[in-house]
């Protein structure tokens, strides 16, 4: 997917006019705010930086750029190269309620030109935000009109720019951000390969790998009939459910939301069994499996065993064999060997990593 040069840090600009909701969404996705807390946020002064570590070697370097005219002017002039240089992704937030949509688009064009000049390879996502303020039946149409109009002002990014309707009040925020994250993950296919094998070994219907703090999905694999699951929005829904629950647990236990992680969650019903457990330092794995205690127990054990394999993806250390060695009974797949070696090449020269990290959290298990 991302064939360009690999950077450990991926710079992401969050822009849009003041009050559009940039800091609100950042606080919700990355800092465990709940939607009704964002009213407390003040306008952002200049740029606020944050770093978020994801699965694999992805480190998000998020620039939340205050949108007041004076700041924007400054970004476009004095700080032009500093701000718009080596950008991987620009996320531009439009306020659907803005009275000056035309002016917003003009400002967007200016920014797009600066981006094209300094980081022509960047990817642009436009979020049409605060969609909750529009009546449900008008949403789709209004969104499409705006998106089309903005596309025409997108210069060289015209064909590649992607649009999402968002609101901090529902899962649409997670849908958009999941796509953005997926775009940024450098080794998604490697992770997917590993997951695919794991899914086959434990006979899972679906596996979802997500980052623990944001609850954003890194990737998923779906097997067999589960691909017919009618809830096609289930990934962002699960992010949103888990995020909400994390906040609830935090509030009740007094543990800060950042660390209110469960060691395990399990749900067993007559139709499916489901559990979530930690996979690596920064990620959890959610597994949906057939309703059988045997499969359930075997799956839990196998995931414990496979943790170190995934931990290596987090912190690259040395060439490593494929996942199969952890399982006596699994068959080697051709595809995986390729994936594995590609991965190894990437790691060469990265130096010795702290292998133990990401495996230390096994204490929460019982049985």
């Amino acid at each position: 997917m991302n064939t360009g040069k690999r950077q450990k840090q991926r710079k992401v600009l969050l822009m849009g006019k003041s009050g559009a909701g940039k800091s609100s969404m950042r606080s919700i996705v990355f800092s465990n705010y709940v939607a009704k807390d964002v009213r407390r946020l003040g306008a952002t002064i200049d740029v606020e930086h944050s770093n978020i570590k994801f699965m694999g070697n992805l480190m998000l370097n998020l620039w939340d750029c205050g949108g007041q005219d004076g700041f924007v002017e400054n970004y476009l002039t004095h700080q032009r190269n500093h701000v718009f240089g080596s950008v991987a992704v620009l996320i531009f937030v439009f306020d659907i309620e803005s009275r000056e949509f035309q002016a917003d688009v003009v400002s967007y064009s200016n920014i797009i030109r600066a981006l094209e000049e300094c980081s022509p390879g960047a990817k642009v996502f436009c979020l049409i935000h605060k969609m909750d303020l529009v009546q449900a039946r008008l949403r789709v149409q209004l969104f499409e009109e705006r998106a089309e109009y903005i596309r025409t002002a997108s210069e060289g990014f015209r064909d590649a720019v992607e649009f999402f309707p968002t609101s901090i009040w529902d899962q649409s925020l997670y849908k958009a951000w999941t796509q953005i994250i997926y775009f940024l993950i450098p080794n998604a296919s490697v992770i997917e390969n590993l997951l695919q094998q794991l899914a086959e070994i434990i006979d899972a219907r679906e596996l979802i790998l997500y980052e623990r703090t944001t609850c954003l999905m890194v990737t998923h694999v779906t097997r067999g009939k589960e691909s017919e699951n009618p809830f096609t929005d289930r990934f962002e829904r699960i992010s949103s459910i888990l995020k909400t629950h994390k906040q609830s647990m935090s509030k009740h236990t007094g543990i800060p939301a950042g660390s209110a992680n469960f060691a395990e969650m399990q749900i067993k019903t007559g139709r499916f069994m489901f559990f979530i457990t930690r996979l690596t330092e920064n990620t959890n794995l959610a597994a949906s499996i057939p309703p059988s205690e045997q499969i359930f127990n075997a799956a839990r054990v196998n995931i414990l065993l496979v943790r170190p394999k995934f931990a290596e993806l987090d912190i690259a250390s040395k060439p490593r064999p494929g996942i199969q060695q952890a399982f006596a009974h699994s068959a080697q797949s051709e595809r995986d060997r390729e994936a594995g070696s590609e991965e190894d090449r990437e790691r060469v020269g990265r130096g010795k990593g702290k292998e133990a990290v990401g495996m230390g959290g096994g204490g929460g298990f019982e049985g």
């Binding site: 629950h245 509030k251 009740h252 236990t253 209110a260 395990e264 969650m265 749900i267």
Partner: protein
């Protein structure tokens, strides 16, 4: 649907009190709903009930679920919750959020109610919710007072705490005084509503002021100790569900038994707090008698959400799948009805089981907040005792069983 509603006064012009103006509960009210047809399994039945909220056909007389009906004439046996109050005080919002899971922010688009909207809820007990238009004079002669109030379980009076409330109080008191003689046992439940917009101080002051005014005025009219309770509510947090829980608990005759059962479960299993939830509405119908705080209710209620949401996502009606070996044996298990959904959460910073959920029957789930001294290896003990609890509950609410109700003992 509801044959008990009759119009006494013959009128040629349609009035708001006409049958023709009554809207019966519809699922369409639910907005972007979670209701998916065809899902039939443990923990999923909440999906089915809203569209056809009638009493299921059963030849067993409804002995246990009728609630306390102080003024009951031979009616349909469903206690009514009447939602009354000023225009825009939030009645329809409350009904939609609690019973149709409408996201609170979507209530901004609710239109004013022009006719009485009746919803039948059938759950562990049947009840109806009647959402009234705010502008009605509830004692207009055209209004069939007897018919409205005869089966009443509770009168919920909604007062917008962000607005002028003197008129609301005046109308409330008139209503209470009017009802005093014919229906002295009606529970009057006052929801001091929309408190989300108020500062802590102002909220407390408003609440006290409203209570004071209602009580003073009633006693000026010689009505002391009126059966009136007050709650602070908002659709933007759990308070509306908690208030409803308390209102409904008053209508459950078996409450003391349930509490005793929960108490003994808690002490045997070192459970900090146990709630018996109605899965669909997330109203809790009983808890053990240790002190309750809204925080414990919140965490359990949020937990039910997670379990229900995940169950909806992965409990979809999948086509027969021959690859999954135990699929056939499994559907049998569902039919014999002993495969209750269960869930467990352990926290990283707290090594022990933390939250435990077990589906008790078609309508109810038990949710336990585990104490620090309830170690993981006791799960078997908990399972066992919950089984005992479940069996005991079967006797208390035979109606709620999935399978055919027990024959008369």
């Amino acid at each position: 649907m509801d044959s008990s509603h009759r119009r006494l006064s013959a009128q040629s012009q349609p009035s708001p009190y006409d049958d023709s103006y009554l809207e019966h509960g519809e699922a369409s009210q639910a907005g972007p709903s979670r209701l998916q047809p065809g899902a039939q399994l443990t923990l999923m039945r909440y999906l089915q009930d809203l569209p056809d909220a009638d009493i299921p056909v059963s030849d067993v007389p409804p002995r246990y679920h009728t609630g306390r009906l102080p003024n009951s004439k031979a009616g349909d046996g469903k206690p009514r919750l009447l939602l009354m109050g000023q225009r825009r005080s939030g009645k329809s919002s409350i009904s939609s959020v609690v019973f149709h899971k409408l996201p609170p922010s979507e209530t901004l688009y609710l239109e004013t109610t022009t006719r009485i909207k009746k919803e039948s809820m059938h759950s562990f007990m049947d009840f109806q919710v009647w959402d009234f238009p705010g502008h009605l004079d509830y004692f207009d002669p055209a209004f069939d007072v007897d018919n409205i109030f005869e089966e009443i379980g509770a009168l919920i009076w909604v007062i917008d705490a962000q607005d002028e409330y003197l008129e609301a109080i005046m109308r409330l008191n008139t209503t209470i005084l009017n009802l005093q003689h014919s229906y002295p046992n009606i529970n009057v439940e006052v929801f001091v509503h929309k408190v989300d917009g108020l500062s802590e101080d102002y909220k407390g002051d408003t609440f006290r002021d409203i209570i004071q005014r209602v009580q003073d005025e009633l006693s000026d009219h010689g009505y002391e100790n009126a059966p009136v309770s007050f709650y602070q509510t908002s659709i933007y947090d759990h308070s509306i569900f908690e208030a409803f829980s308390k209102v409904i608990q008053k209508l459950i005759p078996q409450l003391p038994t349930l509490e005793a059962l929960l108490n003994s479960l808690c002490s045997t299993c070192h459970i900090e707090k146990a709630y018996l939830f109605d899965i669909m509405s997330k109203i809790y119908i009983a808890t053990d008698t240790s002190p309750t705080d809204i925080g414990s209710y919140e965490i359990c209620s949020d937990y039910i959400d997670v379990v229900i949401d995940v169950s909806e996502i992965y409990g979809w009606d999948r086509p027969d799948d021959n690859d999954e070996k135990d699929d056939t044996s499994h559907s049998e298990i569902i039919e014999i009805g002993n495969n209750d959904a269960e869930s467990l959460i352990t926290m990283e910073r707290k090594g022990n089981n933390y939250l435990y959920l077990r589906e008790i029957n078609k309508y109810l789930a038990l949710i336990c907040l585990m104490g620090d001294d309830s170690p993981a290896e006791k799960k078997a003990v908990i399972d066992y005792n919950v089984g005992v609890f479940q069996a005991a509950l079967k006797q208390v609410f035979p109606r709620a069983e999935r399978d055919v109700p027990l024959p008369e003992e």
